[in-house]
């Protein structure tokens, strides 16, 4: 299964964003933008983006905190080891371990959340224009057939695209 895409290259972010808005208005699937820098105002045009990363971070923190305390207290209990006249479960030092583990798991889960939600690392070929890593702003939209492509191309050109390419990628 191959998905065909029309990709328009724009010299400026505003034109690319406007083109994406028009494509969406014309009944195309939500286009994706490629840019060398994070673009502002994407959400106003393409709809709000929700990120699950914060949930991952929170979960990671909670799991890490519990694991951290269990690591310190549990290992003290499984091998009773009298130290310095202190109780077996010494709260203040174990809280430090808890704190560090909270942060460690928070970080690791944030990374996991990022990879999952940004669909990285890429496992299949996807549409990519190398110019978008330098100074061009690309708009990619899925098209069904040639007529559909031409429609997309005309919208892109109208919005100021310097170049429109027909590309294809393996569909998910």
């Amino acid at each position: 299964m191959v998905s065909h895409q029309a990709v328009g290259l724009f010299p400026a972010p505003d034109a690319a964003l406007a083109a994406a808005g028009k494509l969406k208005g014309a009944g195309f699937a939500t286009p994706s933008l490629m840019s060398p820098i994070p673009m502002e105002g994407v959400e106003e045009v393409l709809g709000e983006k929700k990120s699950v990363i914060k949930r991952f971070t929170l979960m990671g923190g909670i799991i890490g905190g519990i694991c951290g305390f269990l690591l310190a207290a549990g290992t003290a209990v499984v091998y009773l080891h009298p130290v310095g006249g202190r109780p077996i479960i010494t709260i203040p030092p174990f809280l430090i371990i808890t704190y560090e583990m909270t942060i460690l798991f928070g970080i690791l889960f944030t990374v996991l959340g990022f990879f999952i939600s940004a669909r990285l690392p890429a496992i299949r070929e996807r549409v990519y224009v190398p110019e978008a890593a330098v100074d061009k702003f690309a708009v990619a939209v899925e098209v069904d057939d040639d007529a559909h492509f031409q429609k997309a191309e005309s919208i892109l050109r109208e919005a100021g695209a310097e170049e429109v390419r027909a590309m294809k990628e393996e569909a998910a």
Partner: protein, 453 residues
């Protein structure tokens, strides 16, 4: 401000960075060879001798069982504190002057942490068993002692190393992708792997922005905790001059102070030898100078406070330790430290000083010499004067220790030199963010937008 013959374009940034990665002059190879040689000769050779002979190769003795190895450990951990921490704070406060320098500052964090980890191995008596400090049970089912401040260190430093590696890597993914398209051969394959198939889509940027901010928010309290914990290695003991509540903030401020000075040094070198004059400008030195002077004042205040509490307590042990610090065997080092870290930085009150590159370089090195002295004094003077006068003593570092101290500089330089050829050492996409967007009127110069905030 270097005069720009032509306004920088987006493509120029890519060109400059790719050039910094692929075009290697003979000066680089000479420096790298020198750095590797210093590492081998000054670090590994004496270390192998010490491994064979025992810690006796160093100058440590009965009252002063900790010496320069631990001082170096604190110093390198301290140096690591500005990179990622400063980068995170400036990211959260959206200071755009961070953008030209944060990548190399974070690399500094990473490599100083690695060097600090190596110092732990040099420091302990039986480094071949250092893995026993990792949280896993031995064959008897015995785990490490999580009540130990040293164990806090293990947990904190591994977390910090993990966190800052991830932080620098996440921030570089888009740049790896940009460099990927411009390189060939083994470099291309490496960057294909490293960039993970990054395309720069709106979704990817959105997720990266969130993840990066969360990481920054997590790393700030982590970095503060790391140096607090390092201070507790000392403050939780009963040694008169070390058992102080002020130690955690003292160490954290000292760490950020020496780390910021370290950034100035690294920035100077990058600017000079990697030809990043357009990106690292006098504005960065000006802002770093302002930061340094604030940190220097806080540091001086805490030092004065430490003396005052020791004097006011009036206990014989504290008083003796104080007297020894100010007028004893190591007194000249103490006054050198005061001169280098409290008095000399006052020069930065002048804006002309802050914006001149060579004086700032010299001052930043002077500050770090002073800060190394501080760490040496914390270990050396305090342990020399403890409770029982019978076991008072003096510690003088041996030639092995001094050689290893120099060798760590070589090791850090080697790691950093390898880094600048693999990582884009300034952030391509964040520099572009501070530049004029294509299709906009020219309003600002690269890397300077936002000014000091």
């Amino acid at each position: 401000m270097p005069d720009n013959p032509r306004k920088l374009q987006f493509a120029d940034v890519n060109d400059d960075v790719v050039r910094s990665l692929t075009q290697t002059g003979s000066a680089y190879y000479i420096t790298l060879t020198v750095a590797i040689t210093v590492t081998l000769v000054c670090f590994f050779f004496p270390w192998f001798y010490q491994l064979n002979y025992g810690i006796g190769a160093a100058g440590m003795n009965q009252p002063t069982v900790w010496g320069t190895y631990l001082a170096s450990f604190i110093f390198w951990i301290g140096l690591s504190h500005s990179g990622t921490l400063l980068s995170c704070v400036l990211h959260i406060t959206q200071s755009s002057w961070r953008k030209a320098m944060y990548r190399s500052a974070e690399a500094m964090t990473l490599f100083s942490l690695m060097v600090a980890g190596t110092m732990v191995m040099v420091h302990v008596g039986r480094p071949w068993f250092i893995h026993w400090t990792l949280p896993y049970p031995n064959q008897m089912g015995l785990w490490p002692n999580f009540r130990s401040p040293l164990m806090f260190d293990v947990m904190a430093i591994t977390t910090y190393l993990t966190g800052s590696s991830i932080f620098i890597y996440m921030g570089t993914i888009p740049d790896f992708a940009a460099v990927r398209d411009r390189t060939t051969g083994w470099r291309h394959h490496m960057y294909v792997m490293l960039s993970l198939g990054w395309r720069g889509t709106d979704t990817e940027w959105h997720r990266l922005g969130w993840a990066y901010t969360f990481l920054a928010v997590l790393i700030i309290p982590l970095a503060v905790s790391v140096h607090s914990i390092v201070s507790w290695d000392f403050a939780l003991s009963l040694v008169p001059a070390l058992h102080q509540t002020i130690f955690a903030p003292y160490f954290v401020v000292g760490a950020i102070y020496s780390g910021t000075a370290g950034i100035v040094t690294v920035m100077f070198v990058l600017r000079k030898y990697m030809n990043f004059e357009h990106y690292i400008t006098d504005l960065h030195f000006d802002n770093l100078g302002k930061l340094l002077i604030v940190l220097s004042l806080i540091w001086t205040y805490i030092n004065a406070l430490e003396l005052f509490t020791a004097w006011y307590s009036g206990t014989s042990t504290e008083y003796e330790a104080l007297k020894y610090k100010l007028f004893g065997y190591y007194a000249w080092l103490y006054w050198e430290m005061i001169l280098f870290c409290a008095v000399a930085p006052l020069l930065m009150i002048s804006k002309r000083f802050r914006t001149s590159f060579v004086p700032m370089l010299i001052l930043s090195i002077v500050i770090n010499i002073g800060m190394y002295t501080e760490r040496f004094l914390i270990v050396g003077t305090s342990l020399s004067r403890q409770y029982l006068p019978d076991s008072w003593g003096v510690y003088v570092p041996s030639s092995v220790e001094i050689s290893i101290m120099v060798g760590t500089l070589g090791m850090f330089s080697t790691l950093f030199l390898i880094f600048v050829k693999i990582f884009p050492s300034i952030s391509i996409y964040e520099i572009k963010e501070t530049m004029d967007q294509p299709g906009e009127a020219a309003t600002s110069t690269p890397g300077t937008e936002g000014g000091a905030d």
